[in-house]
Symmetry: C2
Subunit: 399 residues, 2 copies
């Protein structure tokens, strides 16, 4: 395990299989416990239709005495009404029992099938089994990370070390990406743990700021899930004073880096993806303008299929920028793809198309740069290409 990935002090983790998923090799329940009370912050889906655990967690964050996070995959507990809410509360109660905490000190995350009730008997067995396995080894961290996954190809972990008041603190994040299980939808979940101390209000501010430039800047197909949740736990086990001044700046940067690494991993592991596409938009009047243009390019099926096909199709990219709803001077627009200038100040540039095509086909990373002449604001966004495999996964899951 890379040094950057160690488990922050005062946390124990476990991942177990409790028969929510069919494959017994795949953990489907994860438990994360903080030995002492931790500050907790959360950022959640903006979908009007949101899952029971999102409703529960939203009411409990920001908070300052959180003790555990319990996560199941394979069932989203979404669109399940009062029974779903009762089940989410029961998950918190069961986890509180094994962690010797109060139910309100537990946060709950679910991902998987929409519209089915949780198999609570299995969940209960899973929580009990996880309690026994709680630990701080690499194996514990990895099994907890795997317990969140649905059809993700890889577990997603990232960490950073920074100093707070001269003491080293650790920030480690676990995430899951876009996946499908049966008739289901993508869900993004992420838990970031730190042994730094943070006040609830600060934790919430830092997490919101990190999310805006990382998880809120990715898409696979643009369909916002009912369950998206990003949690931050800070238990102060490595440094009991909250970071301030330059330490706070360094902590904030490290937190953003952890979120960015995980967000990129989610985009790169999008269903059927063959390319991670990084879109940089510069020269805008406001960051909101830059994000709107980047998001529109990222969500265009024509842009995504062109990259899948290895085609430097600048017409699709500049025309997507044009319908983002942002006012700009078309004569000031330029475009680079993998470093090659394709479109310069409103007109096609001459370039070696086969060479650019080879650069797309030969690399997993594709870099799109849109340069405007409106101002100094910019944004970076990540997405993946759209392949026939994506359609197969999402149209043919019944056959």
């Amino acid at each position: 395990m890379p040094a950057s990935l160690s488990i922050p002090k005062g946390y124990l983790l476990a991942g177990v299989h409790c028969r929510i998923k069919h494959d017994p090799q795949k953990p489907d329940l994860a438990l994360i416990m903080s030995e002492g009370p931790a500050t907790a912050a959360g950022v959640y889906t903006q979908n009007r239709i949101c899952a029971a655990p999102v409703i529960l967690d939203r009411a409990r964050t920001p908070g300052d005495r959180m003790r555990a996070v319990v996560i199941n995959s394979g069932n989203a507990n979404a669109c399940t009404g009062d029974r779903g809410m009762a089940d989410a509360r029961r998950m918190a109660e069961l986890s509180a029992m094994v962690c010797q905490a109060e139910p309100v000190q537990v946060l709950v995350l679910s991902t998987g099938i929409i519209g089915e009730f949780l198999p609570m008997d299995r969940i209960e067995q899973g929580i009990t089994a996880a309690a026994v396995k709680l630990g701080s080894s690499e194996a514990c961290l990895r099994s907890a990370a795997r317990g969140m996954l649905t059809t993700d190809r890889h577990e997603k972990l990232a960490g950073r070390r920074v100093a707070v008041g001269g003491k080293p603190v650790q920030i480690t994040g676990l995430a899951k990406g876009a996946g499908m299980i049966g008739p289901n939808m993508a869900t993004m979940l992420c838990v970031v743990l730190t042994d730094a101390a943070l006040r609830p209000h600060t934790a919430q501010q830092l997490l919101r700021a990190a999310a805006d430039e990382t998880f809120n800047c990715i898409s696979v197909e643009g369909h916002t899930s009912t369950n998206d949740s990003l949690l931050l736990l800070a238990n102060g086990a490595a440094a009991d004073r909250p970071p301030a001044g330059a330490d706070l700046q360094a902590f904030s940067t490290a937190l953003k880096e952890v979120c960015e690494e995980l967000a990129r991993a989610v985009a790169a592991d999008g269903e059927g993806a063959q390319h991670l596409i990084t879109i940089d938009v510069t020269g805008c009047r406001t960051r909101a303008d830059a994000v709107a243009i980047a998001r529109t390019v990222a969500n265009s099926p024509l842009v995504k299929t062109a990259i899948a096909g290895g085609d430097p199709n600048w017409g699709r990219i500049v025309s997507a920028a044009g319908y983002a709803g942002v006012a700009f001077d078309p004569a000031g627009l330029s475009l680079k793809l993998n470093g090659t200038l394709l479109y310069e100040e409103g007109a096609p540039a001459s370039f070696d198309a086969p060479a650019v095509s080879r650069s797309i086909r030969g690399e997993r990373d594709t870099h799109v740069e849109l340069l405007l002449r409106e101002g100094a604001a910019s944004a970076r966004f990540w997405t993946c290409d759209l392949t026939a495999e994506y359609v197969r996964i999402n149209a043919e899951y019944h056959t």
Copy 2:
């Protein structure tokens, strides 16, 4: 030819092949002439990056002495700078010459590859050839309609007859849909001809109102083109008095019906499409809310792949409604698919899933109804499903 499809009085049409497209069987240039001056209205793409003919036509409509529309397919004349503008003007001049009109009395439409200059020598030959073939037979109408197409499978024609001041007038429209030629993008073009008389301001109002409920309510993949144009010509050859009162209402309805029939045909003939999906959203506070929800459902790749797979996946549909940016009470949301209730007032309904799946697989039309409890406003939207064939067309066009 159905009676509803006759050519309005005072118009002559032709479609010819002039070697912009490779296939000599496919017309690629169409000319439409009005024998007398016609009122003209236009509705155009909102893309900031718009093609030369759009810039030209936008300056010429609404107007009251238009004589011709010249259309080429196979080359969009978009992102072509000053030379593209000069080429669009030259197309108008050449067409004016053969129609014995002034250049400002001609509108120009182009569709096809972005970023390449028009082959003006071939265009000139095409206009001359079309002038010789101008006529008012069914063959002339159909060849003109085919001259607009790119990869559309079918030509798109629709017509209605209504009375104005006791005299029968004809409304006939020609449209093209989403198509690709090489490294290219979708373009929607439509010309509606009528032998009724209309004042420019009225023509513009009627066309804008019709577009808002028809062409502005369809999508294939949500990528707004650089060339979208909808034109209305009204030459008064069948009735010299503009419609008023009940006649105006009837005319407006007939115009909207023609636009709706063509818009539906565009959605149904989307690239790779196996289903035409009609989305009705009712019970909203405003029509804008209803359109936003319908558009978000229509553009969700998860919804579109579910329909392609014959799956009544209500979770994807209600969650798409949830991220449309419209405030509503989730407990008041219901969903029907092909007439079967799948989701009732915020909770899953019990239904015969295999039967609903069979109804999707067995029919080309799929009907999605989302019922809210916020108000009395509603909207209808059309889209198509997302198939592996769509990805193949748009990723593998080079191979």
